[in-house]
Symmetry: C2
Subunit: 465 residues, 2 copies
């Protein structure tokens, strides 16, 4: 063979072999696991077991903020559910968590205005916020849209309530980008305002839905400046306040909140496990965070997604699938306002020297499946992509490199950290608010997600990485 054509031909050949071996591998995986995948889907969609668990959780326990009484009831509820499944072991893993209590008063009222005096604004204290003195704080309001503008107006901020009013950008196709684009106002806005002498903060709710429901979430105080009280405001009232300020820039708002931070308290991760038959030392984690905000009932964030991962174990048990590797469901406590649960879990696996092959987190709502976002080396991801024809049965379209989830990201040494990615268009309509209730979860969408996570767990257990 002429060496001039031999080299490019060799390269062609190699590339072609790679592509065709991937197709070959895909077919093999499909032939091998198709039946089990279909059984998983059928069982999930016909029994609707997780959806009924969610109904029970929402109707009888409700929201579950870390450190609250309800969170402890929910922890024991989950423990009981795992025990009923007959898995190999169930345990509670201690974790210290913050205790913040909303209290009974969260209100903002326009005062000292010609036209709007007495108008109440629909607000909710931001998580971790300090309260106000009794009777509240009263001050003029300055509307701000960016931290740059805040710095430019530094002189005008002193003694005022800063009103962060940058809207959620609806033009991003991925709503997580819209959220990421606006959430800094809530997270670090209050302390940035305090640095310039502000005495309080009101933050436009970070949401994709136009209504008047405040969406909460935690703020992060900078310990070098005074902690000022901060609240989220519903979008309709945010626009009302903005317009009112245009008419009367000197109107004042009275902001009163009796929320309070207490000492950290003891709580728990809930953990359940089915031991692997061939490689029991290779652990595959599935899980989400069991705490929620104290608005709505934490149905999409993160009740339903947690229950999806609980039902993975139940599906293995009820279909009598004996996994080659150990499947462990971890319901992490305290993702919303700290990561006490994630740290406790990470510490425990380090001290026990446990090896995690992979971990899957479900914390993006319980909508129709779209894909899995994977933190792993490229070859591992390429290998997993061979599983797509099987996963597609539950509507998974893609496996892509990307972030996984807050809680599992603390797990060291895993070959793959995986985030379950359902459709995200409606998630920030409900996120961290009274909109996040049971009726917002669609039974089929939730159970298809359960199927997708169960099939991936099963493939990881059977095929390894």
């Amino acid at each position: 063979m002429n060496s001039k054509i031999a080299v490019p031909l060799f390269v062609f050949l190699l590339l072609f072999i790679q592509i065709s071996s991937q197709t070959e591998q895909s077919k093999k995986i499909l032939d091998k696991h198709s039946d089990t995948a279909e059984q998983i889907i059928k069982s999930s969609l016909s029994e609707m077991k997780g959806y009924e668990w969610l109904r029970d959780l929402c109707e009888n326990i409700g929201p579950r903020l870390s450190g609250s009484e309800e969170s402890m009831i929910a922890i024991h509820w989950a423990e009981e559910k795992f025990n009923q499944m007959g898995v190999d072991s169930v345990w509670l893993q201690p974790a210290m968590v913050p205790k913040w209590v909303r209290g009974n008063i969260e209100k903002a009222t326009i005062v000292k205005s010609n036209k709007f005096t007495g108008r109440e604004l629909n607000v909710a204290s931001l998580g971790s916020s300090v309260g106000t003195p009794k009777g509240g704080i009263t001050a003029e309001v300055i509307e701000i849209h960016s931290f740059k503008e805040l710095e430019q107006k530094a002189e005008e901020v002193r003694g005022k309530i800063v009103f962060f009013n940058r809207p959620f950008n609806q033009t991003f196709v991925n709503t997580f980008r819209g959220y990421g684009d606006a959430v800094d106002q809530r997270g670090s806005g209050p302390s940035k305002a305090a640095k310039f002498g502000a005495i309080g903060a009101i933050v436009r709710s970070v949401t994709s839905k136009y209504d008047n429901v405040p969406h909460v979430g935690t703020l992060f105080y900078d310990n070098s400046v005074k902690k000022i009280p901060a609240a989220a405001i519903g979008l309709i009232d945010a626009d009302f306040l903005s317009n009112a300020l245009k008419e009367e820039p000197n109107l004042q708002v009275n902001l009163e909140m009796d929320c309070e931070n207490f000492e950290n308290v003891l709580s728990y991760n809930v953990i359940a496990q089915i031991n692997g038959t061939e490689f029991p030392d290779e652990i595959i984690v599935v899980g989400g965070h069991w705490d929620s905000w104290d608005k709505g009932c934490g149905a999409h964030d993160d009740g339903a997604p947690c229950i999806q991962t609980m039902e993975v174990l139940d599906i293995f048990k009820r279909l009598d699938i004996k996994p080659k590797r150990t499947i462990r469901c971890v319901l992490f406590i305290n993702e919303e306002n700290g990561i006490g649960g994630a740290l406790a879990y990470a510490d425990s696996i380090k001290s026990k020297n446990e090896y995690h092959l992979a971990a899957i987190e479900s914390d993006r709502g319980a909508y129709t499946p779209r894909g899995f976002s994977v933190t792993a080396d490229s070859l591992t991801i390429l290998g997993m992509q061979n599983w797509l024809p099987v996963l597609n049965k539950s509507l998974i379209e893609w496996i892509r490199p990307g972030g996984s989830g807050v809680d599992i990201s603390r797990i060291e040494g895993a070959k793959a950290l995986i985030g379950y990615v359902p459709d995200d268009q409606r998630y920030f309509d409900v996120h961290h608010s009274d909109n996040d209730v049971f009726d917002e979860v669609h039974p089929r969408e939730m159970q298809l997600g359960t199927s997708a996570i169960a099939i991936l767990t099963y493939l990881l257990s059977e095929e390894g990485l």
Copy 2:
């Protein structure tokens, strides 16, 4: 070169060249059209124009059954919208359509029962059904789950009301399969029952949602047998009736309906067009069906999907995109109970000898985009798949061979007939029922669908097939 290796190498080479040329082509298309696609998405998501049109349609016109006064108001409403866009031409295309009127009475009541006398069942007359005599028909009820069972029980059917009660199969991942699996009961059930002497039919609503709302749709009478009255029943009452029959097999039901069929009447397709700059004789149709059932407001079926295709023209106008090929929006009348509009359109293009390059139909709800289902030869589909990186910006994951849509399927000679396929998990929750209202349409999901259809229309116009 040794011929023993030359032949397989040549095959490898050819295949490799095909794969790499597809990748190459994909990249070229992406580079060329990325900006326009992004502008389309941004404009669609920020202006929310179609969503606001839908609000107006639902709030001020409502449902639009073929032949009704509301359908004519809706036809002129659409004509007016097209005129406001400043497209090149707008016209109404005459089409004869059936006129069926629900009337004021549709009720079913249990009578001659020890325990359940007087219990009303939530029913709604099926489209095209004849009414009952005044005072209704009263008869025993026989529950049937399949046409096979109907034949087996032929002797027992005479003089009775047949209650078709086969449930929607929730284990199909694609809800259109669940619908297809059960809808024969509604379509041909009444006449099949009449063949054995039944005097009426009650059909379990073909829906994925467990509530008590009847879901209607048309029945098809077999002209060789007597036309018997038929109604859909809500799922809760279907289960109630089924249980009641187990307790008292001889209970009777009085079914009264005053719906009526009239002579066909004149109606119209609404058509609007932007002329192509380079190939004006190559027509690309986008559209849906402008009629709806007379329950709810036909928001998902087919108001929002029609409006998506109307907004495609508006997007071209407002972004000043001058298409190479002619873009025509067709709002077909009478898809729900006949195909008068589709036939009129097909006739017209035949008589004018118009060439259609492609047609896109939107008639599967206005949920988040998933893909396009294409009737075309394999090479055409392979070529269109090169456009996926551009289409994926609006969340289109796939282009697959498959059916297009009822109305465009009558267009002869087109290179590609294309169905827009959004997520289908919630569609049959609302389909043909009072659940199909404006609030069930999510603004972002609808506008992303608009973007997807607009981008595909743009690519068809720029690239051809």
